[in-house]
């Protein structure tokens, strides 16, 4: 026996994991060494497919249920009594005893990891009864205490609610409450904040940090977000293609990354505030090439799109009677000039996507006018509809779902041309190849099917498809949100390059403030269906005039561990619901000018602001 290092909690040595493939087993984790000491946070960083999550599954042996196998190595775990076990060979009975009281997990999707038909209280109490041997009544008391601990207000009432009645952030806190119910010594959190909004993410991260300080548990935090790493981690292990490429303290990794991959990863992270001294947006520097400012706005002439007083409401009916309304978009007015990028920012549910979808008429607006190049396209006849669908194109968030899996990429790109009779036959083919080159792909991709491509490549195809009808405006709805960091930077650069070459106007819908800072000339901040602040990007980012804009900006994680303990103006309040009784419409008022081209809401929006 070799002497294994002992950190006091978790020591993984030479771990190798394989999954069955079509031609024999495929090894996805190679010779991985990791260790976590009590009270320590290890961040496991890497892009999708790097093996981060599989590592977590291997440590908890949930891998057995996912079809994988540990083919080599040791997972040494020191339990509360000080006995070190090798988890790779531990029988199922032992693992079941460990999961919960010793090792707990929090997953990415708080929507699917709670049982939808059981009340929140019952689910927490179940875990408590199972591992602490308490009775029903005592478990409920404990459940309430746990909810208080994860800072859920009005815990007694929340216990009786069902998961669907809670917001994403609340659900994730419930998951954390369940995970912590047995006071685990090791918490494995697999992208626990990825599905959450920035302000909620900041709340959850702060909560995890406080809880760790209270309980002294070790934590493995799996993420792809370097900003989150800087906020939370003590040590960082960077993974790529199933191997650990670098490990070090968080300060080391951020200040002096050794491995080239770590350096690319860090360089690709958009840092909020990096353009605070510049007026114009600028693309990411690429391989030493310094990007030029994006001076593309055409100030003269009418805007490409102008919407005035756009309102989209959804009626909620029960028994055929109108009961309430979702005020998704309330009196939104904005315009985009040729060559300009207007960013529409806000948290999920604020109505930014519905605004975009209302413009392209995927939703039917209830009121307002939409002008395309000065022409009213609010009511569509056949001709106007064709024009709108040709000149305004939409890029969706999910490149996996927005391409028809049964059509080749080439056909998908040609479809807009064929539909609008812009080109056909050999001419269309030539244009497809040209567009593929334009978005940085080669001609051979035309013959491929979407499932043969990576997420970044597919999003490039979606952009090529959007360009095929020679549009004047592109609405990008979270178009880079689903991509890995390094790919995200490339696609952002691609969009900005296209704007430079083709003079496109862009409505960039995003929740990612750091990316928005990079791409946009102007920014509109949405909250509860209304624009609360709109103005030039530099003014909005450096001197936000609305309290909500400020809150949004302060919640963005800063990828710099040295600035971790900055005072955060965080509140644990929830965003109110846009669902209102029919006799209580929201308060509306014109925005007030506070600077050149800079307007802000001074009326009360939804109670908090």
């Amino acid at each position: 026996m070799t002497v294994t290092p002992n950190s006091g909690l978790l020591d993984v040595t030479g771990l190798r994991v394989a999954f069955p493939g079509e031609d024999g087993p495929v090894t996805v984790i190679h010779e991985l060494d990791l260790s976590v000491a009590p009270g320590e946070t290890l961040a496991l960083v890497g892009e999708s497919g790097s093996g981060k999550s599989v590592t977590a599954l291997a440590v908890t042996r949930l891998l057995d249920f996912a079809g994988g196998r540990i083919t080599a190595g040791m997972v040494g775990f020191t339990d509360a009594t000080g006995v070190t076990l090798d988890l790779t060979t531990a029988p199922g009975e032992v693992m079941r005893r460990l999961r919960g009281p010793e090792i707990a997990m929090v997953f990415q999707e708080p929507m699917t990891s709670l049982n939808p038909v059981l009340r929140v209280g019952e689910q927490i109490a179940e875990a408590v009864m199972l591992h602490q041997g308490l009775g029903q009544a005592a478990a409920m008391v404990e459940a309430r205490r746990l909810l208080d601990r994860v800072r859920i207000a009005d815990s007694a009432r929340q216990l009786r609610r069902f998961p669907f009645e809670l917001s994403g952030g609340m659900r994730q806190r419930v998951m954390i409450a369940i995970a912590l119910s047995c006071r685990p010594r090791l918490l494995i959190a697999d992208e626990p904040t990825t599905a959450l909004d920035v302000t909620v993410q900041a709340q959850v991260l702060r909560l995890l940090r406080t809880l760790q300080a209270e309980t002294g548990m070790g934590m493995i935090f799996i993420t792809h977000d370097m900003g989150v790493v800087a906020e939370l981690a003590d040590r960082v292990a960077v993974m790529r293609l199933g191997r650990k490429v670098e490990e070090g303290s968080v300060e080391q990794i951020f200040a002096a990354p050794q491995h080239p991959y770590t350096r690319t990863l860090l360089a690709a992270v958009p840092v909020l505030g990096s353009l605070s001294g510049e007026t114009l947006p600028r693309a990411f520097d690429n391989e030493g090439v310094h990007a030029q400012p994006q001076d593309t706005v055409v100030a003269k002439g009418p805007p490409v799109i102008e919407i005035v007083g756009l309102t989209t409401r959804f009626d909620v009916r029960r028994n055929f009677r109108l009961r309430a309304r979702v005020h998704a978009v309330e009196h939104v007015s904005l315009s985009v000039r040729p060559g300009e990028t207007l960013a529409l920012v806000g948290e999920s549910g604020c109505g930014k996507s519905t605004t975009g979808r209302s413009i392209i008429r995927l939703e039917q607006p209830s009121a307002g006018t939409i002008l395309l190049d000065g022409e009213d396209v609010t009511t569509l006849d056949h001709e106007r509809e064709a024009r709108l669908r040709r000149e305004v194109q939409f890029v969706f968030q999910d490149p996996f779902a927005s391409l028809n899996p049964r059509l080749t990429v080439g056909f998908s790109i040609a479809e807009p041309m064929l539909t609008h009779r812009l080109a056909r036959g050999a001419e269309a083919e030539r244009r497809v190849l040209h567009l593929l080159r334009e978005v940085g792909l080669t001609a051979e991709y035309a013959q491929r099917y979407p499932h043969e491509m990576s997420g970044g490549q597919r999003q490039r195809v979606c952009i090529a498809r959007a360009l095929a009808s020679k549009p004047r405006l592109i609405i990008a709805d979270e178009a880079v949100a689903a991509l890995d960091v390094s790919i995200r930077a490339q696609v952002v650069n691609l969009l900005m390059g296209l704007q430079q070459r083709l003079g496109l106007a862009m409505l960039f819908i995003s929740h990612d403030m750091a990316v928005v800072e990079r791409v946009s000339h102007r920014v509109a901040v949405m909250y509860l269906g209304q624009i609360v602040e709109i103005g030039p990007r530099r003014a909005v980012f450096t001197a936000p005039a609305h309290a909500y804009t400020e809150r949004l900006l302060s919640a963005v994680p800063v990828p710099d561990p040295a600035r971790r303990n900055r005072s955060m103006v965080l509140d644990d309040t929830e965003v109110p619901s846009p669902l209102r009784p029919i006799d209580q419409p929201p308060i509306l008022a014109p925005l007030v000018q506070v600077g050149p081209d800079h307007f802000v809401a001074r009326h009360s929006v939804g109670g908090h602001y």
Partner: protein
């Protein structure tokens, strides 16, 4: 090895190639497919493969058991049962394929329109389908044949009618869910028209279910056609039809069992083969079972 069936392992893995590769892993379905192909070939080339004229009586050998000359024996008129079964396969397969094709096409059109447009169109069409669905299949078929008069054409129509509601329900369901997919929304944003949207973006997604159901339905249709003939509403007496052959042989049960046994076996094997093929297709087309 199954590799010989698979599409050449080029870099491009088409959906069709993927499907074929997975289908080839289903041994039972492959056997069923081979059997069905054999049946179809035998039916198509019936004049060349049958040793006797199926309608020609031979009064020297009435109700003979299986022998070297008559492999499956002869019936009450001395007609060769083996030849009659092969000729009967023509009738059964034609009825099966035509009725499923007719019912399938009508069902697909109704389902697509119903699911795509929704609203009152959906309401009216689906209530209509509910009415058809409310009758047990065979009763409905008997009713339609009674209305149109007996004969093989009318059997095809009647079976087609009772296949329509199930196909339309199936396609409507897929249409409703596919209508919500991002790629259909994306196609709408581009300005693709309704008909193209339905035929190019929605229908192909609904086809796997239709194909699976069609193959299962073929078995049922053949069985129903045989039942109709058995009760005298289908094929007219001289023509060799499996159900009619069963009816003919009924009087000789206990005397000459082979007269009913072999047509019965033919029906049984054919229906089983289509059902196994359907199961295999479902497993190969369902990405969740990969």
């Amino acid at each position: 090895m199954s590799a010989t069936f698979a599409a050449p392992s080029s870099a491009i893995r088409t959906p069709l190639g993927e499907f074929w590769r997975r289908f080839c892993r289903q041994k039972r379905a492959l056997v069923a497919l081979a059997l069905i192909v054999l049946l179809i070939l035998a039916a198509v080339f019936a004049p060349f493969v049958t040793p006797f004229d199926p309608a020609a009586p031979d009064y020297d050998s009435l109700l003979d058991g299986p022998s070297a000359a008559h492999w499956l024996g002869t019936d009450a008129y001395g007609r060769d049962i083996f030849s009659r079964i092969i000729w009967g396969g023509r009738v059964s397969l034609t009825v099966g394929f035509l009725s499923v094709a007719l019912g399938g096409v009508a069902g697909i059109v109704i389902g697509l329109i119903s699911g795509f447009f929704g609203g009152w169109i959906d309401g009216v069409l689906m209530r209509l389908m509910d009415v058809l669905l409310a009758f047990p299949g065979i009763i409905l078929a008997i009713g339609v044949v009674a209305l149109l008069g007996p004969g093989i054409d009318n059997v095809i129509y009647s079976i087609a009618v009772f296949s329509v509601p199930v196909f339309s329900r199936l396609v409507r369901g897929s249409t409703l869910s596919l209508k919500q997919t991002l790629y259909v929304q994306a196609a709408r944003c581009i300005g693709v028209g309704r008909t193209t949207l339905m035929l190019r973006h929605i229908l192909p997604g609904a086809m796997p279910g239709v194909i699976v159901y069609a193959s299962l339905r073929l078995g049922t249709s053949i069985l129903t056609a045989a039942s109709l003939s058995f009760i005298g509403l289908g094929a007219r007496p001289p023509s060799a039809e499996w159900g009619a052959m069963l009816a003919d042989g009924r009087s000789y049960l206990g005397v000459a069992d082979h007269v009913t046994l072999f047509p019965g076996l033919a029906i049984f094997i054919t229906v089983l083969a289509f059902n196994l093929l359907g199961d295999g297709l479902r497993d190969a087309l369902d990405p969740k079972l990969r």
